[in-house]
Symmetry: C3
Subunit: 236 residues, 3 copies
C-alpha cells in the first residue's frame, strides 16, 4: 500500500522509528504513579519504550541485542494481536535503567538492529513465516521465550497455524534440539493464527533445525498465497 509521509518529531523523548511501524521512546524520569499502574515493583528512574504494529520476534531479538550492549534491564514484553490484519502479533517492550542515556542507548540499538531481524520473515497475503537464530540468548529472549541465557536459541513461526505445526515437526526431526516452548492459537499466543516453536541446544543443531524448517515452509506458504519474499535480507 502507499505509505503516507511521516512527519519529523522533535520531542526529546522521541528516539526514532523503524520497520513494522515500530517506534522507540524514552522517559527520563518516569512518573511514580505510572510505574505503580504498570505493576512494576522496582523504582526505575528511566524507561525505554520500543514496539510496533507488525512483529514480535524481530523486536524481541533486537531488544535482546540491546540489553547485551547496554546497562539496562527488560521490564516487560507484551504481545498484542496485531500485524494490521495479518496473522500475527505486534509488540511492546519496556527497558528499565537508572540513567536516561542508558535507556536511550538501548532503544537506539534495538531500532538499529530491527531490520536485520526481519531478514528471515517471509510473507504473502495468505500468511507469514519467521525464523530467528542466535548463538547466545540474553535477557529479552529469556523473558519472552524462556531461552537459557548465553545458549543458542531458535524461533520458528508459521502462519496460518496449519503451516506452523508442520514446521515444528520438520525442525524437531532435522536435528537434536530441545523444545523450550510450543505456542498455538489457543495457548501461548494472543489468539494469533500461528504455531510458534522455541528451541535450544547445540548452536549447529539449532541452526540446522531452523534452516530445514525454512526450506519446507516457504513452498508451503507459496502454495497458499504466491511468492513469499523476505521482508529484508535473510541473515541466518
Amino acid at each position: 500500500a502507499e505509505q503516507p509521509e511521516a512527519k519529523a518529531c522533535r520531542m526529546p523523548e522521541f528516539v526514532g522509528t523503524a520497520i513494522g511501524d515500530t517506534m522507540g521512546l524514552v522517559i527520563a524520569n518516569v512518573d511514580s504513579a505510572l510505574l505503580e499502574a504498570m505493576n512494576i515493583d522496582k523504582r526505575y528512574r528511566s524507561i525505554g519504550i520500543f514496539g510496533g504494529r507488525t512483529g514480535a520476534g524481530p523486536q524481541v531479538m533486537a531488544a535482546d541485542d540491546a540489553v547485551k550492549d547496554t546497562n539496562t534491564e527488560i521490564i516487560s514484553i507484551e504481545l498484542p494481536r496485531d500485524t494490521k490484519g495479518g496473522a500475527g502479533h505486534g509488540s511492546l517492550i519496556i527497558f528499565g535503567a537508572d540513567d536516561v542515556s542508558d535507556a536511550r542507548r538501548a532503544v537506539e540499538v534495538a531500532l538499529n538492529n530491527l531490520e536485520e531481524k526481519f531478514g528471515d520473515v517471509y510473507g504473502n497475503p495468505a500468511g507469514h513465516l519467521e525464523f530467528q537464530y542466535t548463538a547466545r540468548a540474553s535477557f529479552a529472549l529469556n523473558k519472552a521465550f524462556g531461552a537459557p541465557i548465553g545458549k543458542a536459541f531458535g524461533l520458528i513461526v508459521g502462519a496460518p497455524a496449519v503451516i506452523g505445526v508442520m514446521l515444528a515437526d520438520v525442525a524437531l526431526k532435522a536435528a537434536d534440539v530441545e523444545v523450550l516452548g510450543y505456542a498455538s492459537p489457543a495457548k501461548g499466543t494472543s489468539y494469533s493464527n500461528e504455531v510458534i516453536l522455541q528451541i535450544c541446544g547445540d548452536s549447529g543443531a539449532v541452526r540446522q533445525a531452523i534452516l530445514t524448517a525454512r526450506d519446507v515452509g516457504i513452498p508451503l506458504l507459496e502454495s497458499l498465497g504466491g511468492p513469499a519474499p523476505s521482508s529484508a535480507t535473510p541473515y541466518i
Copy 2:
C-alpha cells in the same frame, strides 16, 4: 476505501446505524432462554443493543449519555479485538429496560451522540489516539472503566501501545489526577495494541491531563504514519 451503499432496513427492531460500522437494535420481549444464555440474572423485558466494528471508548461514552437520559440500565459491555485490521477494539453494549420505548430511546441517544465522541479520535495507517472527557461520569463509564458516578473522568488511548505508554506518563505529570486503570496489550485489553489510561479527579485537572497528552500524542503518531486527523470534530 470505497463504501458500498447500505440498504434501508424496515424491521421494527432496527433503530439505526452510525460511524464505526455501529448499529443500534431493540428487542421488545427478549426470549428468556437468551437472557439465561447471556448469563443475565435480572428479568429485563426489553433490551437495547448497540455496538460497532470500530471504537469502544466512543460507544461507551455515547451509552453513558444514554443511561443518563433514559430509564435504562447497562447490562453488559464487551470489547472485541477489532477495528477492521486496526490496532484497537470494537464494542457490544446492552441496555436493559422494562419498556421497549425506553430501550429504543437509549439506543437512539447513543446513536445520535456517537459522532461527537469520535471527535477526539485521531488516526492514520500506523495507529490511533483517543481522548474522552466528561465532567460527570455515569453508569456505562462506571461499568466499563470503574469511573466514579457523577465525577469527572478521562480516557487516554495510544496505539500502537508504545505511544500510549508515553501519553500516560505525560498525562500524569501534567495535572493532579488519580489513576483509575491502566490497560496494556497483555492486561485489561482484548490483546489490542493499545495502552489505555483511565483517570479521575478535579474536572479542570482531568481536562488538562488529557489536553497535554493530546498535544504530545498527535506528533508522535504522525512521525510514524503521516497526518492523523480527527475522525469527526474535536470536542474536548
Copy 3:
C-alpha cells in the same frame, strides 16, 4: 482483492488448499517431542492438519464430515482471532490416526467439503453472518461446540456482535430448540466481534430456527455495509 498466483507444492505431506486460505497437510510419523509439546497424551502415529485464515464454523463442519467418513479422531480444534482484518476466527484442526492414509483421507474429505460449508456464510465490508446445519452431528462438532453426537445441530453467527444478539433472539423464538452455547466477544470467542449461538433439538426445528435467523440477518447486515452475498452456494 487481486489474488497472487499460488505455486504448486510437491511435498508428500501436502494434501491441498481450499477457500478461506485453508490448507491441509499430513505427517506420517509425528515427532514424539512435538506430540508432547502439543500436550497430546495419546501416541498417534499420524496426524492430519487442517485450517485456514478465514472461517472456523465451515472448517469444523467439514472436519465433522471427515471424522464420520474415516478412521480418525479429532485431537484438537483451536480458533485464532483472524479472518484477515474481518470480525471473526480462523481455524486449526488436528486429526489423529494410526495410519497416514487415514489421516490423508480425512484431510481430503475436509478440503473437498469446505466450499459447501461456506454456502451460508454471507459477508460485506461491515461484517458477516454464518449459518450451519446438520441433521447428525459427529465428533468435531461435539468437540468444538458440545453438540450431542448423532443429533441435529445448528450454528448461528452474526458479526458485528450487535447483529448476532438479535439473531439469537429471533432463532430461539422461531422454533422449539435448545441452547447448547452462546459465545460473545468477551466469553467463548477469541475476542472476535461475533455472537455465536449453538442449538440442538428436533431437526425440523433446528432448521426452522436457522432459516428464520438468516432471513432477519441478511437485511440487517446489508443495512450496515451493502450487499452481503453468499461466499459460495447456500446449502441449508
